[in-house]
Every structure is written in structure tokens, then in C-alpha cells.
Amino acid sequence: MPKVTFVSADGRETTLTAQNGQSVMQVAMVNGVEGIVAECGGSAMCATCHVYVDTPFVHLAAPASEIENEMLDCVASQRRPGSRLSCQIQMSDALDGLRVFLPETQQ
């Protein structure tokens, strides 16, 4: 099963095992990782599960949809090239070892 590492804004790392098909947001929520709010629960509606995907993994995740892209313009912390909504990234073996950085704020 693929692993994913969350790096908090102050540099703390949490590595968790995901199920294939589970969203990165869901992995964070179910394990109580702080720094992801996910108010809408995974509908790409609230822009509060924003993460910065570590550069080597950016092109391994399926690209953002039009709706996600529009919501990324509305995130509370700065949008950068690796910005994604973590509810829209599905874990898979191809993403094993994924590292995502959490922004300073989600709201």
C-alpha cells in the first residue's frame, strides 16, 4: 500500500499508509493530521484541503480538473506551481512515497 508524507508548515513530518483509491485529504482526515480542514469533505468546493505537492510528484498525479483549477485561485495561502486540492489526488502505487507540504493557513 502506498505511503504519503505530510510536512506541516513548521516542518514536522507525518508518514502514513494509504489505501489505493483513497484521497490524500482522506488519509490526513482519518488519521487526524492537522493543517487540512476539508470543510466540504472532498467535493472540490471549499479550497480548505490545499497542499503543495513536492516537485518530483507533480507530474505523477492526475492533472487538476477545470473546477479544481478555479478553486485553486481561491486558496487562503499563496497558490504555487505544486498547489493542489488534496481531496482531488487519489493515492495509487505510482504515488508511493508522495510528499506534500501543508500551507500556513487554509481559511
Binding site: 472532498g42 468546493m45 471549499c46 473546477i67 478553486m71 485561485d73 481561491c74
Partner: protein, 408 residues
């Protein structure tokens, strides 16, 4: 005996959030959540959307057992709270136990409104609130060819859109003068009506269901409408809104109206008892409100947690809401119900629409379909309370985001 702490009745998103927020604030006494469901707290909104497609409960769980244990949050599953003894400050449970409390939080949610509809006891008549009901509906739906839905509200339309995308024949019956009548402006109702009909969902409004038809052995065959028309269906979903679970509060002598009555701090008339989420009738600037939304549940829970640890905070939010109806994302920012003036922005070549709502000349919110950036901009504008009027929005070329930039 352990010292009493906080007992939370109701294992939904509001109840869980009270517990998590209390721990975040450093609250170190026992926290017990009493849930009448057999599973850990989960997200309810996907039950009428993605869960019907994938049946994957793991995607819905809000916190796993390990995370709850780490936070020392005790969840009593499949357990009902039977009565509150306010004098003794304790709650008696269906398993015979009595839980003492220092603070009690009622997060009892809602239940589907029961229609007095003959035939409701037939097989394959469904309602949707809990995981168990969603699982029953999901299983039945995979075998059904035609589905009749009573109620053109959020749940009814979300399930209709899913069922249609799965190739079912779908009919929605709405007794009101339009779909989503209590929730959105006439412009958005009309827009969604057109989109859903384009996708092949049959929608009838201004018509009530008379009774559910079935065979002698109890199988559903359809709906008889008030005008004697018959809708053939082998599955019926009753989705005519929800009513607050306030019986426990009323039984304890607490005040109820459209739900459990609280003051601005979300406290009942008993200083040790609070209420959060869908079941709460709370004071707001334009009169009392009861909101059924995740945001309201989560923010009320956070507010009560802060007040329990010594705060005296009045609850206040810019409400927002969403409803995924198949390919259509409906979002509401602000309190748009009761708008007396609506400015509609629509492009002919797409499904996008924004309805900018006013009441007494003041901007009250925006309803959007497939326009998430407009929705987010509206939330920012509402949070600033700049007293925007219709004139500020009348330039048709102006997008809402540019208004965010100029209204600082």
C-alpha cells in the same frame, strides 16, 4: 469514579467536532460521544452522492479509531440517550448506564420528515439520512430500472442525478411551486430544472403524491399522484425534508421551537447544556434560524467548545452551502432565502449561472451553478460586510473577483 467531563449526544459531524475542538483547546477531562449509529462519526453529505456510486465507507469516516484514541475521545456506538436528569447532571442510556456530565452538548441532528403517504410500508420504499439507509438504497438502486422520488429538494435532486447517470428512468415529484423552493431563488430553480430535464430526468412540480402503489405481495409498482396520474417505479425514495431531533431536549424541560432553542452563545436555558448542528434553532440578525449544513455544524461545534472552556462568544458566520447534483455544482454563499431582488448572470454557451441576491436593497448572497470562483468571491465580499448594493454589481462585464479586489 472518574470526574465528569463533557458528554455529547449525537455522533455526527457536529458532535465529533465539539470533541476535537475541546482537545485542541487543551480540555483534559473525559469526553464521551453517545451515538445511536453502529459506526464511527462520518460525513453525511456523500451518502446522496459518491457513496451511491462506490459504496466506500472508508472514504466517509471522519476520524479512525486510532486517532480518536490518541485524542482520548470515547465514542459509545449503537447507544441511545434515553433521558437527561438536569438536577443530577446525568444522562441515562439505552444500555442501562448513566453518564454524569459537567457540560452536556446536544448534537442530535435531524430525521427525514415522514409523509402521511399510504403505501409507505411497501418493500423498496426508502428514505435517506444514515449510512444504513444509504447502503439499503444503494443495493436496491442497482437492481431498479425506474425510480420515483418524492421531494425536489437537495437530497431528492442529488439522488435523481446519480440515478439518471446510472441509466435509470427517474421521476421527481415536488409539491411546492418549484424545485428547491425553500432554498434558492426562482432563477436557480429554473436553471437546474432545465439542466436536469435536459439530462432526461422527469420533474413535475405543484403536484403532491397521493399514495404509493404496490402488488398484493408488497412490491412497489409506482406512485399515484394527486391528479390521478400514475408514475411507474420499482423504487420510491421519500425525500421531503427533515425535522430536528428535539424530543430529548423537550423531555428535559428545555425550550424548543424549530429545533432546540439556544441563545447567541448556543447555550440552552440550562447553563450546563448546549446544542450544535442541524437540530439547533439559534438567534441571528434577521430572526431565528435553523441551518442544515456541514459548515454550520462545524462552526457551531467550535464556538461551543470555546465557550465550554471559558469563552463567552456569540455565534456568527457567513453561511455557505453546496449541493453536487451530478455534473452540476450548486453553491450558496450568504442567506439568500427571502431575497426580493435577484441579478442573474448567465452565459448561453455554458451551464454556469450566478444569481446575485438582494433584500431591501442590500447584498445578501450569491447562488451559483458550476461557478466556484464566483462563489468564493461572494463569500469574501459577505465577510467584509461592506454594505454593497445592486449598483455595485450592475456592470455585466464585472466579475465578482474584481469586486473583491476593489472593495477593500
Amino acid at each position: 469514579m472518574t470526574q465528569p467531563g463533557v458528554v455529547i449526544i449525537g455522533g455526527g459531524q457536529a458532535g465529533l467536532q465539539v470533541a476535537l475542538s475541546l482537545r485542541q483547546l487543551g480540555f483534559d477531562k473525559p469526553i464521551q460521544i453517545v451515538s445511536d449509529e453502529p459506526v464511527l462519526p462520518y460525513q453525511r453529505p456523500p451518502l446522496s452522492k459518491t457513496y451511491l456510486a462506490d459504496g466506500n465507507f472508508d472514504q466517509l469516516v471522519l476520524r479512525g479509531q486510532a486517532a480518536l484514541d490518541a485524542q482520548q475521545v470515547d465514542v459509545l456506538l449503537a447507544t441511545r440517550a434515553e433521558a437527561i436528569d438536569r438536577k443530577a447532571r446525568s444522562v441515562s442510556l439505552s444500555d442501562g448506564r448513566t453518564l454524569p456530565y459537567e457540560h452536556l452538548v446536544l448534537a442530535t441532528g435531524t430525521r427525514p420528515r415522514r409523509l402521511p403517504l399510504a403505501g409507505s410500508d411497501l418493500q423498496n420504499v426508502h428514505e435517506l439520512r444514515t449510512l444504513a439507509q444509504a447502503e439499503r438504497l444503494r443495493t436496491a438502486m442497482s437492481a431498479a430500472a425506474s425510480i420515483a422520488i418524492v421531494g425536489g429538494g437537495f437530497i431528492g435532486l442529488e439522488v435523481a442525478a446519480f440515478a439518471r447517470s446510472a441509466g435509470k428512468k427517474v421521476t421527481v415529484i415536488e409539491a411546492g411551486s418549484r424545485i428547491l423552493e425553500r432554498s434558492v431563488s426562482a432563477a436557480v430553480s429554473a436553471h437546474l430544472l432545465q439542466l436536469h430535464r435536459r439530462d432526461g430526468i422527469e420533474i413535475r412540480y405543484r403536484i403532491g403524491a397521493g399514495r404509493i402503489l404496490g402488488t398484493a405481495d408488497g412490491r412497489v409498482t409506482g406512485l399515484l399522484l394527486a391528479d390521478d396520474a400514475v408514475v411507474d417505479a420499482d423504487l420510491v425514495l421519500l425525500a421531503a425534508g427533515a425535522v430536528p431531533n428535539d424530543d430529548l431536549a423537550r423531555g428535559a424541560g428545555l425550550q424548543t421551537g424549530n429545533g432546540i432553542l439556544v441563545d447567541t452563545a448556543l447555550r440552552t436555558l440550562d447553563p450546563c447544556i448546549w446544542a450544535v448542528g442541524d437540530c439547533v434553532d439559534f438567534p441571528a440578525p434577521r430572526g431565528r434560524l435553523r441551518l442544515e449544513s456541514v459548515q454550520n455544524a462545524v462552526e457551531q461545534a467550535k464556538c461551543v467548545a470555546r465557550n465550554i472552556v471559558g469563552g463567552n462568544e456569540a455565534f456568527g458566520i457567513v453561511p455557505w452551502f453546496w449541493s453536487d447534483q451530478g455534473r452540476y455544482k450548486l453553491q450558496i454563499a450568504g442567506l439568500t432565502a427571502g431575497a426580493d431582488d435577484v441579478l442573474v448572470r448567465k452565459t448561453e454557451d455554458s451551464d454556469r449561472l450566478a444569481a446575485i441576491c438582494f433584500r431591501d436593497g442590500t447584498f445578501t448572497g450569491v447562488e451559483t451553478v458550476n461557478a466556484p470562483a464566483d462563489h468564493m468571491a461572494a463569500r469574501t465580499l459577505l465577510a467584509r460586510t461592506t454594505g454593497l448594493t445592486r449598483k455595485d454589481f450592475e456592470d455585466a462585464n464585472l466579475d465578482l473577483k474584481s469586486l473583491v479586489g476593489s472593495a477593500t
